[in-house]
Symmetry: D3
Subunit: 332 residues, 6 copies
């Protein structure tokens, strides 16, 4: 049995996230709040809040922006020793203008030319990394970054599988990065390595051409087509900017598992899906119970909406208190 | 046919607007957010967001506060070359304490002695200005500032009409500036020059003594009494501080046009009426279709509630996306 | 008849209150907003907003934190000349992380070793103080701080009563300071001095073992058991973080008085109960009418939710305007 | 012998003071820092820091700006019970743009129409006030505000003298408020009531036509001409924005007293002269020693430069530590 | 004689400028101050402060960052109607970490792939633009951006000259954009169109291989080699971060003109050279006197150091007051 | 030869550090900047900036303040896996009011009852920790915290030595924690384990009763008395608040090594001594050259003055550039 150093390894881009305070637009603002964000980093951060050890693999420019990204990951206990430092390429940046109903929140990506888009499959010692890991997670954003990033993703997935890691994959389709047909062509071969597929209701239809309308059917169809052990479908409803409703269901072992719907007051919804993935993975790794994993995923996603920034600052204890009905009252 | 330099010319006061952050009261705060605001300036700013060219006429003190007001107008592309610079008089200031239900938002005006209250009718080259303009807009605040400001308003309206401009007038009754009987005496003669009258449901009753209870009837009665081409009545409902409902109807060509009601999450509702006027005027000038104008006005007013400050940072494109049902989801 | 210098005297701890801005957690933040708070100080501040004169008695360390607490009390016109200045003991601190549904607001107390926990009954010239006062108010937090603080509370209550002051007592059970059995043992003897008992629905059950389920019955039972002239029960419902519902009822003269329920948008609910007490006491002292006192208490508590910090910045005039139905519209 | 309630009474205007952060200009800024300031209020605040009791007399508008001014005075323990509250007139405002060498700090006054400019001599119960006071201080700004303010100043000085108070007067010539000849005509009669005249080197020449070039001679000449017990001349040198040199000399009992020159790092030099006056008055009242008063005045003025805002947050203890050579090292 | 619409036209890139507050490093900060900056835009802004009319030509992405850049230029009255709006390319960004001695201020450029680097010479209607202009200014940064930007620069210079504009060129060598040999090869042909060459002491040596050590000789040699009407050499000395010394000399009409050295307290030195250019150009256009132009340039550059951001908020009036010795004292 | 996991292990307290912005005093401020600081943590952070691996040992309360301290350490790559988490005791807090000459910076400690003061010698697995470490560093603050902390310090030093680690000790006398005689009694036995003693000029005299006046002699005497391999004496001179001069000398191998004096502009001098220790230790571990270590220590200490907060954000590369004369000019 292998000596485990990391419970979870993730691989992907993280960006500098800049947003005007107080519902201003970029045109209007004189200052920006600076955070760090990226789907796979968000997951790596999330699982540490449950007490798991995680490592995040990426490629960053050797400059202050790259260091800032690393620091924020370290702040939340993510191992950054496998970051590839680059003299070329930039740190991706994205801007968020937070809206209020009916003005939508707007994201402006400025991520082209990033260091990670130039990553080569052999720049990371995947083998030695996964030999000390239990689980690998990646999302559909990473292969969308560039052909070489797609090749690195394939290499990582293959090696993780060979090394005995379980694998989760968040479909996370990004229309600004690639077209559906490319997303399908590149990702279909990758699905072979995936145990747990996480997605929302739209992406499988867009990317894999599925047509099921009910989430339950969609999950079952995905599992049937690609042989996933589990398929999770997150279901969010944006009631307005400041109110949302969240749930998710899982197809596992031939059964559809459901959870109740949660109402949230929204501080910042960006990263909620990544928190779901982190909670689900942590729940699965810690308990081996899909129903428990679903609850942890939902609770962690729901709580994420209440923090500014993509990261989730709740802990396993907060999640458990919440699931036990811990309340709304200030405790004195 | 005249060479048009300005699609819209507006005339009125703009003030320094100071507000404590974070729902504090003035008594409580240690800092103030500084914006610039004024009904007619807000309209001049608004129409530029639709791609129209506007000029704003005013009188400002030649000091840093006057310059600050000018700069903010210029920032949003409003032509300020017709501002009259004065060695006397001050810049008006107003303070806003933002409330939360059930504490009302409170406005403290400190506008007496302003430079514009001393404006003389002949200080502005109205003739040459309107000969290069398509439309003139003013509100009932300007004649309320002082007798000489009222005389200048009359002169402006008369000259605009003579120069072939269409004219809109926002009734905008301000009880802190004058009494209803004075508002009626001064404004009734001005109504002769007005094509489009914009108002809420209360002001016509207060100022002109109308008694119609339904907005439709009010609009029709106004049109009948004063011969307006169009009458628009805005209908807002403050559900709480953080939630409001908005619509407006227009009486045009013997017909009452209605639009749906819009629910909004409120960041800052000040200036929504001015945004309505801007959207309506822009829609009318661009499309000549009153129904379209009404939709643009409503959409622009609704979106205004989501920005801090009196100005509206949405564009024609945002308005069109919104009217086409562009959604609540973050676009990635 | 005595010459009155203070309408209301209160006695208790005040702390430095630190909270991260923008719904951040302590782990996450780089800055803290600094306020001053404490149940009895909040009441002393509250009654000055109705035009009453108040004095707040406490023991503070002679250092900048102690001075900061004093300054904030003085800023709102509370007489601080009876504070005992100490070379020993610290200023208590408490941290608040504001939540959003479903993440609860969390309070972290760091109050042990405070100067006031070392207060001795004879350090304050109670006699001369109460001879110039009309009313004394204290809450169950003060005797919970330490045995000597409990002894000082007893001494204060006894002397107030002897000096002809009316007395109100807010039960305010704090589970982090003592156990229910200690709270009962220490407080039961104190109830003899109390005219007006203010509490919520849970504390009498926890502390005095009452079992009545309906607030009306609870109030009546309290009055019967302990001989209070009046018992007030506050009833709050946290609909979410950003929305709450508030009311209170009073048992007075053998009758249960009720008021309507108020909906509020919540900026900061901490201190609402103290605002109720302040409004009720002020109403009672000013009008001698329990129904009026109840309305003032409710109105003042409701308005408190709309200010950041524990203090209430509304005035008697605001309360009266609100009770007369003064509205939601911005006044211009 | 009279029962003293106030060691020092002062009389004058206080304004809302607004300044852009970070060396921005008003044209440039989006926010303002809000302080409260006024020469005589600054002195009233200053003497409380030495443990003296002070009252500040003024006339303020009954609105949030007036209340904000009062609150800040109370925060530093100044008695505000003699403020005259007015339904008319505004709160004066002044704006400061802080410069850096060689760009000068600029002040924009917006003080016309202030409530205090409408004060009437009989609106303040001067007699009963001064019968419980030891010392009265006023500056040349108060009579410059308006003829009625000048009359009130005369009345106050006369009554103070009759009531046995000692009197200090800071010449404080403000060229934006009146012309030298008016300043002379109005103030010369007032000099009869003054014991301690405080001034800089320029004002006596401008106002009273003195021609002495050396500060020593100027002080002596002033004493000779007007019969002052003491004349103090402050001598400041602005080495740059961020560095200044300060001293003052006093003519007392036929002798010129000097102190050393102090070098300071400047955070905010506004109000340093008022701090000098406060320190000097406190020193004189506490010790009766002109040399000690001069040292306290200089020390307090010097330390003022290190605080943002007009107020001085140092205490008697800080002043004494500083004068004993308490050092530059952080104490651990 | 041509009808002049613009006194000065400039052409170049402007970027979003982001800097951490309070001497933090990028790695350390949680927020960024957002300004807009670019050598030629800074000059266009600068000349408007002297009352001249300017237009700035550039190519910007049609997105919120592009709009933010335009807005800031408009705020200071720069005509932006000739900006080429692009669907491709990004807005350049640069980050500044402000240092304190001995830690240097550090700039991190993130400007590759900018819209302007893709500009084509024929995208701007140079002819019609320059036919209504008096003067054209560009710096060596623009041709360094890309070969097509260099071609556009050449086209602009040629057309400006043909249209009778005077031309100034700031050498502004940027080692991060190109190598000295490329800078020489590209720029030498452009020198034919230049009337006024502005540079520091290092760049001519690096780019054109000059070897003169004294600034006077350098200026004369430049004029001799390239036939400039005037050569200006700026001479700055960074005494520390917070203190600097500035002067410049001009070679004009066979004569070396000098000015005195100015000491400054440094708030933000970025953009001082551009302010020099603006002041010099304004002085030359307004007075035709090289000595006056040199003084205006120096004064404007010196005053720039005192504002945060690249722009200069002083006006012609400030410059004249400063040159007349207007002082350090706060004016009251 | 041992497998090294940590280059440097340190042991001590870290506190929450709160300071008012903008030279305000605690009495004055409405917000606080929140940092984390502690002598040994500062050193652990410092060495990571040179690329070394460090672990910091401490005892922290299991609450948000404890987590905040850990996060900040992790952010800068310090291993926190050996922190002892406690259900009892609090996180120490300290407040800093930054002064400007001549007002001193003031520190208010609120550290009593901290979790680490209750640490027991056997709570940390010292043996296994030091078997994987090269160097151990602690300061005289740790044994001053409590007798049990002193016992733990002794245990740590003894075990480090036995495990073959080199040991450095910063004398760091804190008069607020213990008296000189206690400091001597407790620390003298500890000196046996120390290789490198770091101190300023005052502490050895206070604690060990040394009387040498020249730093050189002091260092030599210390080495002679206690058998240290190296003694380093830091020599700082606070020219004012905003300017300081720094150097240090080392006695090593019978020789006194000196370095030049460095002038600095001071942003925040707290932690400069710890940065010296970090730079010296890093230099010694990396190069084995005492002269180089001294230079690194001085450079790192000097650069520390330019960052807000106790931590040093410069890197080995910055230090080397600085020592090679890398300059004051902005690099473009």
């Amino acid at each position: 049995m292998k000596e485990v150093l990391y419970d979870v390894v993730t691989f992907g881009e993280a960006m500098i996230r800049l947003s005007p305070p107080g519902f201003q637009r970029l045109e209007q603002t004189r200052s920006l709040e600076m955070n760090v964000a990226g789907s796979e980093l968000n997951v790596a951060v999330g699982v540490t809040r449950f007490g798991l050890r995680s490592a995040w693999v990426s490629k960053l420019p050797r400059n202050p922006l790259g260091f800032a990204i690393r620091n924020r990951a370290q702040e939340l206990a993510v191992d950054c020793s496998h970051i590839v430092w680059s003299e070329e390429g930039r740190a991706g940046i994205y801007f968020i203008d937070f809206g209020a109903a009916p003005r939508p929140t707007e994201v402006l990506y400025d991520r082209s030319g990033s260091a990670i888009s130039r990553i080569r499959p052999d720049e990371v010692p995947w083998r030695s990394l996964f030999e000390r890991a239990r689980h690998f997670h990646v999302s559909g954003i990473t292969p969308a970054l560039s052909p070489s990033a797609a090749a690195a993703t394939a290499k990582a997935l293959e090696t993780a599988k060979e090394s005995g890691c379980s694998v989760s994959y968040d479909l996370n389709y990004r229309s600004k990065l690639w077209r559906p047909e490319d997303a399908r062509r590149v990702q279909e071969p990758l699905m072979d390595y995936v145990d747990i597929l996480i997605t929302n209701q739209e992406d499988p239809c867009l990317v894999f051409g599925l047509k099921e309308e009910r989430a339950e059917d969609l999950a079952e169809a995905m599992a049937a087509s690609y042989g996933f052990k589990m398929v999770v479908v997150t279901l969010k409803e944006a009631l307005s900017f400041w109110a949302a409703r969240w749930t998710a269901l899982a197809y596992s072992g031939g059964e559809v598992l459901k959870d109740k719907e949660y109402d949230v007051e929204v501080v910042d919804r960006i990263g909620a899906g990544d928190s779901f993935a982190a909670g689900f993975i942590a729940g699965w790794l810690e308990t081996g119970d899909a129903r428990r994993a679903l609850q942890w995923g939902n609770a962690f996603a729901v709580l994420k909406h209440t923090f500014p920034g993509d990261f989730n600052w709740c802990t396993r204890e907060d999640v458990e208190t919440f699931l036990e009905g811990g309340g709304r009252k200030v405790s004195r």
